[in-house]
Amino acid sequence: MTTDNKLKKNHPQKANWVPGVLIAIAVSYLALVQYIPAINVFFQAFRKGIIPFFANLSTPQFLHAAWLTLLLAAITLPINTVFGLCAAWAITRHKFPGRAIVISIIDLPFSISPVVAGLMLVLVYGKRGWFGGFLEATDLQIIFGFPGMLLATSFVSMPFVAREVIPVLEEFGKDQEEAARTLGANEWQIFWRVTLPSVRWGLLYGLILTNARTMGEFGAISVVSGNIIGKTQTLPLFVEDAYKQYETEAAFSAAVLLALLAVVTLVLKEILERKTHIQDVE
């Protein structure tokens, strides 16, 4: 507002209609691409009322898919937290050549297509893959089973924690950790009492993004899971499957839950962005 007024004062001949038109174009574009489709999810799910909606959500297939999605997130989150914290600590606390390359390597899962990620897992753990013979001999099933889905979700959501924690750790610096060290704290104590509290908001932010990606992942999981209803079907797979079977209402009922997950993610993201920002200023 202030900048706008200032500009106007400097330039009386400046066209007043420009901001209005630009804002209108921006809002319309976002409406066409994002808002109308987003509202449509809720509209379609509740089109026939609340009762069919809940009927769709109490089928055994749906309940199993929801349970599996939660389970995947519950295991992926801690694994990727440990990795992300270790990677962030290692990268920010040691100066070494090729640091940029290591960060790029950690970011790789973002640029690899989820389907290619799934394909790679099939080539390692599938029947005709590297460990195929060994896995068959020991009766372990990774592809078309829960372990494969776990690997796929961990893969696609791997970089989030490290990526959010690295800038916070860098900003925070080593001073307090070194002060703690000279006061006789051991590495564990330094980590729990000094480092972790300082990165907590960044870590939480990374975890929220990890969670959203884990629960919503579709491509990699559909390659490795085999999509067996009531066995290896997660919520996004349930959505696609129901849609393909022309059970549009069931598809949209499940989609509403995933859309609510997205809303919660966006709200928490906004809050945490503010928190981390305030910390930066201090």
């Binding site: 507002m1 900048t3 706008d4 500009l7 400097n10 400046k14 420009v18 901001p19 804002i23 921006a26 574009y29 976002l30 066409l32 691409v33 994002q34 808002y35 449509n40 999810v41 379609q44 990795f83 270790c86 990677a87 290692a90 040691h94 950690i106 970011d107 790789l108 640029s111 690899i112 297509s113 989820p114 389907v115 290619v116 990620a117 799934g118 394909l119 790679m120 099939v122 080539l123 390692v124 005709r128 893959g129 690997l151 893969f155 993004l209 959203a212 919503g216 992942e217 579709f218 491509g219 390659v223 996004p236 959505v239 696609e240 849609y243 989609a255 995933l258 997205a262 966006l266 993201k269």
Partner: protein, 289 residues
Amino acid sequence: MKASMTLETNRKVPFWKVFIDNVIHLPWTWRITIAYLTFMLLMPITALFLKASTLPTAEFWEIATSPLALATYNVTFITAILAALLNGVFGTLIAWVLVRYDFPLKKIFDATVDLPFALPTAVAGLTLATVYSENGWIGSFLAPLGIKLSFTRAGVWVAMIFISLPFVIRTVEPVLQEMEHDVEEAAWSLGASQWETFWKVILPPLFPTILTGVALGFSRAVGEYGSIVIISSNTPFQDLIAPVLIFQRLEQYDYAGATVIGVVLLLISLVLLLGINFLQAWSRRYDNR
């Protein structure tokens, strides 16, 4: 103290000895990081390349350039570039509006830009297919004009626009925020029009950043699977994209076919990643001035 010690040893013993010594005495954080990266990333990528290397070069080339594969590259890459370019224009405009203007509900507007990051792709595909179908909210307005979006290549384009939009906005926004007003005002006081100021003063330093955003969006659109598999009819030579072709090959247990297309996609994403890193370095050039 530690640093000075390494410097001293550097002078006395050869480099490789220091290197091996460092590797052996790695802190445990590094060990976990390296082990996890090896297990999760390096091993699968190696498996993909090793599998591809078992194919004779001629056969690899034949599969990679078969008419069907070429048609999927055409749909994937041309459509992704068209989506990313459109978002380059509108994303920059939205970032500009978010940084420079104030209007009611701006906070919500700003927060919802990230919706494609948070909304699962299956849901995005489902709702886009419905909204842009012939009797959908938007599609029903386009149908009388003879425009069909869902289950065509144009639908693939719409899905790619959806998932790549935030990349442009979120890349351009911070750079625009840091840009000084002074230069613009100087241009104005020298008599430049608004349009000239934008074209000659604001756009040139912003251009590498916009290009980075476009490249990021493009890279995401090329790999996208979930929303596109739902909104397209997956018809070969029409709207079949490369990731879906990989999936179909795997379903037919054609591992060689899947691997070849997978390697092509992976190599292209690696080239894109390099390009994006280069673009980011290029746009940072302006920071130091």
